[in-house]
Symmetry: C2
Subunit: 111 residues, 2 copies
DNA sequence: TCAATATTTCAAGAATCATTGATATTATGG
DNA sequence: CCATAATATCAATGATTCTTGAAATATTGA
């Protein structure tokens, strides 16, 4: 994860629909969801709108896709999400462990 | 940290100059840096440009400021950064601890 | 093969954002 | 109190981004 990748990832996560899609896909797990189901979950957004955001997320590396029959299945790119957090944390902690302590606590309690 | 705050924070972090400012301030620690020094560190950006980005970051809650004589000193809002990571992680881990493991490892090794 | 389904691509318009240069505000030293 | 220093604000411009609606592509079942 370099600066360019981090900027792309943050830009992708800074849009309401995309942030919700990422969160939906992360909870959906590795099996993922077809584009149509994602659109229905987003207040029934139009297909072109969902396609635009999914393409954006995929380009940023936050999701991956595969075809299954007529559907395209999207799932969260878990290692990239981890890498983004690691990037932010790596640069957060230089000499100031108090930055990380609450984040570590949040991670420990959720996993 | 709610969705709105997270969106603002991600938007702030998705701009190159602002991401660099945040990283600079985090490494600078609680004592912070005056706006002028931050501008010099950003390839000598104009004062209005730095002021614009600092204002943006402060509005997003990622930095705080205080006056000291003629200078305004900016420093990273460490608890907010922690909260952002916790927000992302909290929603990342639902039933899928493999998302968090690498992030936990990165945090553990840096603090 | 044909019709229907699922999704993507494209062009155009509105909205938001970043940069610049000029001007205003605030504070200090002499 | 004045001149200077440090920073913020404002207006204008150019660049990106989001949304919509229409048309294109890919896949399957009958």
């Amino acid at each position: 994860m370099d600066e360019k990748q981090a900027l792309d990832a943050f830009a992708a996560l800074s849009q309401e629909t995309r942030l919700r899609i990422v969160r939906l896909l992360v909870t959906a797990g590795p099996e993922g969801l077809p584009a149509g189901a994602i659109g229905e979950a987003m207040d029934g957004a139009t297909s072109s709108r969902i396609s635009f955001h999914l393409s954006h997320l995929e380009h940023a590396g936050l999701v991956v896709s595969r075809r299954e029959g007529r559907s395209i299945i999207y799932s969260a790119a878990l290692p990239v999400l981890s890498g983004l957090v690691a990037f932010l944390m790596r640069d957060c902690c230089q000499g100031h462990p108090e930055v990380c302590a609450p984040a570590v606590a949040a991670l420990s309690s959720c996993c």
